[in-house]
Assembly symmetry: C2
Homo-oligomer: 263 residues x 2
């Protein structure tokens, strides 16, 4: 069985549609070289021309903004299996840095692979669009969180969302998960100081809402938190009904015969 160490991107995208052999092979080919990255390694630098998109095979990566006053901010966290670089495709120089938050590995999907993908695998192109769309929704929630919640809600929302996303990446884990972020970094992600993050976490602990054995968190009051911040897990389903049908290489434009293939 060679399927065990199948492509990370394939396993990710297969959650949404069942890929054809052809599509599978194409993707596997594209991400065949895997690059190990140490914590702190810059993936995309400020102003870089990105070399394409990448699949985060293992580890966490974060998008950072460098603010004039020195304190940087975390705009987005990428978890294993997610696709990095979709936001960088559109403009010729990156507006934000992307850095490995833990040790891990990425599979670069070179820029010049995109043209063949678009030409020969329209359904994969649709998947990229759909993934970018989910990224946008994640960012909207982030903005909504920053703009309308107080510190307590922000922190709860942040932890809930992290847990939910980890559950997608690494199916079926419970309320306990690893958070490889310092309190200062959590603060950077939700717009608080490390000091206040600490005070909030501490108060959650004394009230029995969470348990922390660094770097592991356990959400003891998850249900009530989810109710309190109106948490909805927006990433469970993808709409694939508009996707074109998978086509054999020669066949051209089956157009409206497109049919959803979500499992």
């Amino acid at each position: 069985m060679d399927h065990n160490h199948q492509s990370c991107l394939v396993s990710r995208l297969s959650q949404f549609v069942s890929l054809t052999e052809d599509e599978r092979n194409f993707l596997a080919e594209m991400e065949k070289n895997e690059i190990a990255c140490r914590k702190g390694r810059p993936i995309v630098g400020l102003g870089d021309v990105t070399e394409g998109i990448m699949v985060l095979k293992s580890g966490w990566a974060v998008v950072k903004a460098d603010n004039p006053d020195g304190r940087s901010q975390i705009l987005r966290i990428y978890l294993p299996g997610e696709i990095i670089g979709l936001a960088e495709l559109g403009s010729s120089h990156a507006s934000h840095r992307i850095v490995m938050q833990t040790d891990g590995a990425i599979c670069p999907f070179p820029r010049k692979g995109l043209a063949p993908l678009l030409n020969d695998h329209p359904r994969l192109a649709a998947l990229l669009i759909a993934v970018g769309s989910l990224d946008q929704i994640a960012l909207r929630y982030q903005a909504s969180c920053l703009g309308s919640m107080d510190a307590t809600q922000r922190l709860k929302f942040f932890l809930l969302q992290l847990r939910a996303r980890l559950e997608v990446a690494n199916v079926g884990l419970g309320n306990r998960f690893r958070v490889p972020l310092s309190q200062a970094e959590i603060g950077q992600a939700i717009g608080l100081t490390s000091i206040y993050v600490n005070k909030l976490l501490r108060s959650f602990m004394t009230s029995g809402e969470i348990e922390i054995e660094r770097p592991y968190f356990r959400l003891l009051a998850r249900k009530s938190w989810e109710a309190e911040v109106r948490f909805v897990n927006a990433f469970v389903d993808m709409d694939t009904s508009w996707f074109p049908a998978a086509v054999a290489p020669d066949q051209a434009s089956p157009a409206s015969s497109a049919e959803p293939q979500n499992d």
Copy 2:
């Protein structure tokens, strides 16, 4: 000359690549029926299945989040020529509402048109991906603004960004522009109360930084503001170097012969 009332989407996308006759016709066909919308009209409702993407032909539209405590929030503003609905494609139910902020018109591009687009016009697919990518960057800036700036900077940044985007949409206007938003709505967009927005605007006026003749704003101190909040206009250029080459309908997979066509 029939080119005067050419497709809105065509003129928008032509800013980035020079479209072929074939692509032009395809787009024009897709957005042939234009729908006039009155201010306040819902474009996408909460939980809706979106009927596809749309081009905002004229007027403003806003993305709103309804928070539990009743006060809604503005997550994104769409200006004339921009594409609405890319964020909604990926999930089967919309997480946020989209509403017309002024009278205007939209051109729906139906969901079932996407499959033919992806199959037959890979370069247009690339454009959609690129536009979605720029949307993500806009949202990141929004999040960065909410998470790290104080009220004064937020308001300045908001106005600067609005001006810059209007300049793209409606080439070459100066420092004066129309803002069809109440002070309360501005507050919803940048996470402040209407009262504080008012106090800030008023202080800008007495210090001679802006002039307001509702609904028109004039930024008198634009340069110094741009320096103060480190404003960068991230939407002036699009990277099209990775796009596939425009293909004639029959021709298949020219692959690596792809060459940029930005003008």
